[in-house]
C-alpha cells in the first residue's frame, strides 16, 4: 500500500473516531450554538395565540402551514380561535415571514429537510424530526401526567422553550426529572 492510500485510510479512521463523539448524543448537536429556533418577537402574536397555548415559534412550521392554520381559526384543533381580519392579517404576516422556510436556525432547517414539498403539516409534534425526538417517551409521562397533558405543551418540560431552546439537557419532565437519552 502506498503512502497516499495510507494517509486516506488514517484520515477516514480518524473521522470515524471523531464521529463517535459528535453523534454520541442523540441531540445531534455539539459545540456553541444559538437558539434552535428564533424566539417569538411579536407582541400581538404572543398575546393573541399565547393566551390559550404555548406561543410556538414561527420557525417551527413552514409558511404554507401557518397560512393554512390561520385560514381555519374558527376550527382550530376543535377550538374556536377566531381573530378579526386586521389581527389575522398581521399575525399571518409575522408567522410566514419568520417561518421555517425563511429561518436560518438549526432546527428550522432540520424541520424543512424532514418534510416533503407537497406536505402541509399542521401539528408541530407530528413533524418527523420532532416526533422522532419524542418517540421514546412513554405516554404516562405526558398524556397521563396532569402537569403536561400532551406533547404539544412544549413549555411544560422544555424549561427554555420561550427562548427557542429545545435541547434535551434543558428538558425536565414534571414528576420525573431530566430526560436525557
Amino acid at each position: 500500500m502506498n503512502t497516499k492510500y495510507l494517509n486516506v485510510a488514517s484520515l477516514l479512521t480518524a473521522l470515524m473516531f471523531l464521529s463517535l463523539f459528535v453523534f454520541a448524543d442523540d441531540d445531534h448537536r455539539w459545540g456553541f450554538r444559538g437558539a434552535d429556533v428564533e424566539p417569538v418577537n411579536d407582541a400581538k402574536y404572543a398575546s393573541e395565540c399565547g393566551a390559550c397555548h404555548f406561543a410556538y415559534q414561527p420557525g417551527l412550521l413552514p409558511a404554507r402551514s401557518w397560512k393554512e392554520l390561520m385560514k381555519s381559526l374558527d376550527n382550530h384543533f376543535g377550538e374556536n380561535a377566531e381573530l378579526d381580519t386586521a389581527a389575522n392579517d398581521r399575525i399571518t404576516g409575522y408567522l410566514t415571514e419568520n417561518a421555517a422556510d425563511n429561518a436560518k436556525t438549526w432546527l428550522s432547517k432540520r424541520i424543512m429537510k424532514s418534510i416533503r414539498r407537497a406536505e402541509n403539516p399542521l401539528r408541530i409534534i407530528d413533524l418527523p424530526i420532532i416526533a422522532h425526538e419524542h418517540d421514546e417517551i412513554p405516554a404516562r409521562l405526558y398524556r397521563d401526567n396532569p402537569e403536561v397533558g400532551s406533547l404539544s405543551n412544549c413549555a411544560a418540560c422544555h424549561q427554555r422553550a420561550d427562548a427557542g431552546l429545545y435541547d434535551e439537557h434543558t428538558a425536565v419532565i414534571p414528576g420525573f426529572g431530566n430526560w436525557d437519552d
Binding site: C52, H53, F54, G78, N80, A81, D84, N153
Partner: protein, 133 residues
C-alpha cells in the same frame, strides 16, 4: 400650572382611579348596547347557572371546565393545560376593563363551548355574574 405639574396630576389621578371604574365603564357600555338591540333585564343569577351548563353537540364542555366554578381561582385550559388568570375582578382588577377584548372572548368561547354565538341576553347575564365575583 406648569406642564409637568399637569402631567403629575394626571398620573396621580389615573393611579387613584381604581380599575373597577374602568370595568364598570366597559361593562355598562356593552350592557346598553345589548339593551338597545332588544335584550331585557340582566341577571347575575342566570349568568351563574349558565356557567356550568353544557350545550354544545358532541363535546361536554361548560365555561366552568376551564375557568372553574370559583371565579376567584385561576383556571386551566382543558386541552392545552395553559393556566388562565382568575376572571373575578375582585382578585384580578384588569378583568372586564376592555370591551373589545370581552367581545372577542365571548365570540371565541361561546362558539367553542356551546357551538354558537351567545345572545346579547346571555352575554349580559354572564357579565353581571362575573362582575359580582
Amino acid at each position: 400650572m406648569s406642564n409637568s405639574g399637569t402631567n403629575v396630576l394626571l398620573i396621580v389621578t389615573a393611579l387613584a382611579t381604581s380599575s373597577h371604574v374602568f370595568a364598570d365603564y366597559a361593562i355598562d357600555g356593552l350592557l346598553s348596547n345589548y339593551r338597545a338591540r332588544g335584550a331585557g333585564d340582566f341577571s347575575a343569577q342566570r349568568g351563574q347557572s349558565m356557567w356550568t351548563e353544557v350545550r354544545g353537540e358532541g363535546h361536554a364542555e361548560s365555561c366552568a371546565m376551564c375557568h372553574t366554578r370559583d371565579l376567584t381561582k385561576p383556571g386551566k385550559h382543558i386541552r392545552t393545560g395553559k393556566p388562565i388568570d382568575a376572571l373575578a375582578p375582585s382578585v384580578n382588577p384588569g378583568r372586564l376593563t376592555d370591551a373589545a377584548k370581552i367581545e372577542k372572548w365571548f365570540l371565541r368561547n361561546c362558539k367553542g363551548t356551546w357551538d354558537r354565538e351567545c345572545t346579547d341576553q346571555e352575554k349580559g347575564d354572564f357579565l353581571l355574574y362575573i362582575r359580582s365575583q
